[in-house]
Symmetry: C2
Subunit: 423 residues, 2 copies
């Protein structure tokens, strides 16, 4: 498979490193063009990988003609969008126009309701892309959207839970947390600052079978959740996230309600509220004398997640908590992925959240290239068989596990584990 990856920021770089290590002999990865707004950055990544299948190119992702020219030049099969999601609509359309497949790690952005954002939805995440599902289907093309860690792996987890762990699902709740700290920094962005602001300040979604998708106040419904691997208890709050539009679309018949909760920490929430109070979260207006929005400026000025990465200590953990019934017993599981910052730095030279995200598009690419996963239209990871994905994570040494949480079912398992261990 020949791929044009646009964006060689943190995740793009990590994805390329993972891909070249995974398939050094090109059994399924023929080419991965590394295209970036600044050529220097793309060249740096290309040089680091030192593999002729990863050439560097300069491209302005917002300029459709430049992107099309690269697609033509390399005759690629798939455009892999590794940019901020603000470029999603444009790159998604270019791939369609050029008759190639498309992949990204987050959906097209939401536009909150202009006057009543916490009671009414307006343009939701992914609306732009999902509206074109049938067009893609007709052309026999696949747009695999939202294949990072969350959204992405967590969607696979939801499907996997449905397939193997439950007869009946009550709630699917995505939980995103960690215990990252950066020496010398009071506030740490583990991920794209721009995206973090976006998902944290927009009205969060929830979903219920009878109500459909609805919005609630940012940072609402705080709950305590204990993450595994020594991360421990964290306060999680509602945050806008793609899963809340993706999962109901494909799995809405399987569950009664869905939520996404993020462990931000109160210091971080205060900081975000201050940004909003100061108008620094604005992504539409431009700062006088520039063509940058205030939020663009924040992204540029604040410590860059890529630069801070080697000063960060701790882990991040993202997973899917599912509650429901199995064999007539109440059950609760948390299927999760944990990444340790120091370990992932040593392994691929990328930080925790970035590395944790980047494994997923490459695993998906491998499944698509090998024909294990296939599909037509605009689909999320929840639309595919989760088994080969989970199996592949083991081959990538990308840790995934399932934690049985307290329930009638776990009590039964604890008993079984005790009794069977003497066998």
């Amino acid at each position: 498979m020949k791929i044009l990856m646009i964006g060689t920021g943190g995740v793009g770089e990590a994805a390329a490193v993972i891909a070249s290590k995974r398939d050094p002999k090109g059994s399924w990865l023929e080419l991965m063009v590394l295209a970036n707004r600044t050529l220097e950055r793309a060249q740096k990544v290309s040089a680091r990988i030192g593999d002729p299948r990863f050439p560097a190119e300069q491209v302005d992702g917002r300029n459709r003609e430049e992107v099309k020219a690269l697609i033509d030049k390399y005759q690629v099969d798939l455009l892999f969008n590794a940019c901020d999601p603000s470029l999603n609509e444009s790159l998604f359309d270019v791939a369609y126009e050029c008759n190639i497949h498309y992949m990204d790690m987050a959906l097209s952005l939401a536009v909150p309701h202009p006057t009543d954002p916490y009671n009414k939805t307006n343009i939701k995440m992914g609306d732009y892309q999902f509206a074109k599902h049938e067009d893609w289907e007709k052309k026999g093309l696949l747009a695999l959207v939202g294949i990072g860690i969350d959204p992405g792996a967590v969607n696979v987890f939801a499907r996997y839970a449905q397939k193997h762990f439950f007869d009946e699902i009550d709630e699917i709740s995505i939980k995103d947390g960690g215990n990252l700290t950066a020496e010398g920094y009071d506030i740490t962005f583990g991920f794209s600052i721009w995206t973090t602001i976006d998902e944290c300040l927009n009205p969060p979604y929830k979903w219920e079978k009878d109500k459909g998708i609805y919005t609630v106040e940012p940072f609402s419904e705080p709950e305590l959740f204990t993450f595994p691997d020594g991360i421990g208890e964290q306060e999680l709050v509602n945050v806008e996230h793609e899963e809340m539009v993706m999962l109901p679309r494909y799995m809405g018949d399987a569950a009664k309600k869905m939520s996404f909760k993020y462990g931000l920490g109160s210091d971080f929430i205060t900081m975000l509220k201050n940004l909003r109070a100061l108008g620094l979260d604005d992504k539409h207006g431009t700062v006088k004398g520039t063509n940058l929005s205030p939020r663009d400026v924040v992204s540029m000025v604040a410590p860059n997640p890529v630069d801070v990465a080697d000063k960060i200590k701790g882990k991040c953990c993202v997973g899917t908590q599912v509650t429901g019934k199995k064999d007539g017993l109440e059950r609760k599981v948390f299927i999760y992925q944990t990444t340790d910052n120091e370990e992932i730095m040593a392994r691929i030279g990328s930080g925790c959240v970035v590395g944790q995200t980047a494994f997923n598009p490459i695993m998906a690419l491998e499944l698509l290239a090998k024909g294990v996963w296939s599909g037509k239209g605009v689909l999320g990871p929840e639309c595919f068989d989760p088994d080969p994905y989970i199996k592949l994570s083991d081959e990538y040494d990308y840790y995934m596990g399932v934690m049985e949480m307290e329930s009638e079912y776990k009590k039964m398992l604890d008993k079984k584990a005790l009794l069977s261990s003497m066998a």
Copy 2:
């Protein structure tokens, strides 16, 4: 097997009920004489059971001749001591003199060091009994001591963990907790008040490989521990308990350190400290004009655990936490027994802590009667093969389970559980 049970208090009654239900046709239980200080109480229990194998008798357990007369009358094989442990020494000796086996649920009592109780041990729990091990061995008799829930089942758990879950043990720590509350009572004793005061106000033991058994301050080293089955997090403190002399005696080569921690709650600790401050914990002096110690009076006056039992709500959970290594990975497990008060009341008409205790001597009796467990000398439950005991708990529908706690090993298991569930 023919048994003389002395003491038809809460645990004695529950034990008799469990035994008669378990073996209604007398396949191993030929006779269980119910002897008690007050005949009325023994008759009440006998009538409730309504089984001619359970005759009622009056006996003063402190009067050796009376006990011997009953042993003679019924030609019993075993004396089952279901009294307060203050009778242990006497009943233990009577059984020996009469050439029959003996069983109790707690060791002979400690006498703290008269001047330096928190730095020096003096007469420890069980010293009186264990000193006579060889005498019993020579006679070919068994004294199975400390076979309740803790000590008792938890000792079996320690052995089971060593046998099946670890290559190498660092620490064995018994944890005793619950979330019992009694409507209309501010303070609840779930168990014999006399024993509770004794174990809570004496200097607690700990054990380390290099130091042996040593004493620490009561209520010292508070730690937070999360019990399963919805009980949740509790503060546990050091409390004097039999396991800290039993386990090192037989399993001292297997571990580096051992501790016993009890979840008392701060209200309960304050109440105990008040009793001590007022001299009401004293078990040696007598209250003027009576032959009762102040502690006896407290036991008589305070709400009786048997009477309060049907007003109690909640669960108690006791288990053995073991940390160490398995297959080169750090591992931590909690093998536990949980009993729900309402469930056990409905099932055997006894409260939580009482019912939780009473299953264990009956299970042990069955194993002894059937020859599955056998031994000579003064032995604790940790000296026997744990497997048939764990297996039998399932036949008794007496819930036991193992909870994998956070560790490298659990992470490996979580991964395996995820991967294998698609098979």
